[in-house]
């Protein structure tokens, strides 16, 4: 293949915690056309879980009438994922991204969601406005087949 493989999908769903599992499967199965390693797939499923859970719990505070949108682009071995909500937004993004920081200690949140995203993805950008919502932009460069085989 000389041409770079390009594809995209966009997914919206109700802000219900039972959709977390569906969102993981949808994104991971879309990405499976790039033949990632099972490890890379697990990384991606984990970050999707974290971001969707954040939208449900923090963005919409468990109100089920919110909408969560996930956009995914593929370009060659580069995977870009955007997870958005129109919920409460984050007042202080820098603070929110600190390891162990959580605004909901009463729910026994670990405060490690953003840290996990940073560990598993190559790029993590947070775009949030109070009262308007939050968009998380994630990029991961999958290993090429040569890289996988050499590993």
């Amino acid at each position: 293949m000389s041409e770079v493989h390009k594809n995209f999908m966009e997914l919206s769903f109700a802000s219900r915690s039972e959709n977390e599992s569906f969102a993981r499967v949808a994104v991971a199965s879309f990405i499976s056309q790039l033949d990632p390693t099972m490890e890379e797939l697990t990384d991606i499923k984990t970050v999707v879980s974290e971001a969707v859970t954040n939208a449900v719990i923090h963005g919409y505070e468990e109100k089920t009438d919110g909408v969560i949108t996930i956009r995914t682009w593929i370009e060659g071995q580069k995977v870009s994922i955007e997870i958005s909500d129109q919920g409460l937004g984050i007042t202080n993004v820098e603070e929110a991204r600190q390891p162990l920081y959580t605004s909901k200690p009463e729910l026994e949140r670990s405060g490690m969601g953003f840290t996990i995203m940073e560990n598993f993805m190559d790029e993590v950008a947070v775009d949030s406005r109070e009262g308007q919502g939050t968009t998380i932009r994630l990029v991961k460069h999958l290993k090429t087949h040569q890289q996988t085989l050499q590993h």
């Binding site: 991971a28 199965s29 990632p36 099972m38 087949h145």
Partner: protein, 77 residues
Amino acid sequence: IGEIQRFLRDDGMVKVSRSLKELSNRIRKAKDDLTKRLGRSPTVNELAEAMDVSPEEIVFAQEANRAPTSIHETVYE
């Protein structure tokens, strides 16, 4: 209950939650075997070929071994 289960199975009435869990256990085993054999994490196509299902179905079935897939799970079990 074993009788009923066999009947449901034969009749194509087996519930997804149960059937996917079986597939997902087989996937986990195949994944462990391949990881040992290759000395690295297998790609989803390598696993899909070994299991003779599509990569997308691998992803779907794998999920069944996580949290309860169904709001009825406890009722059915």
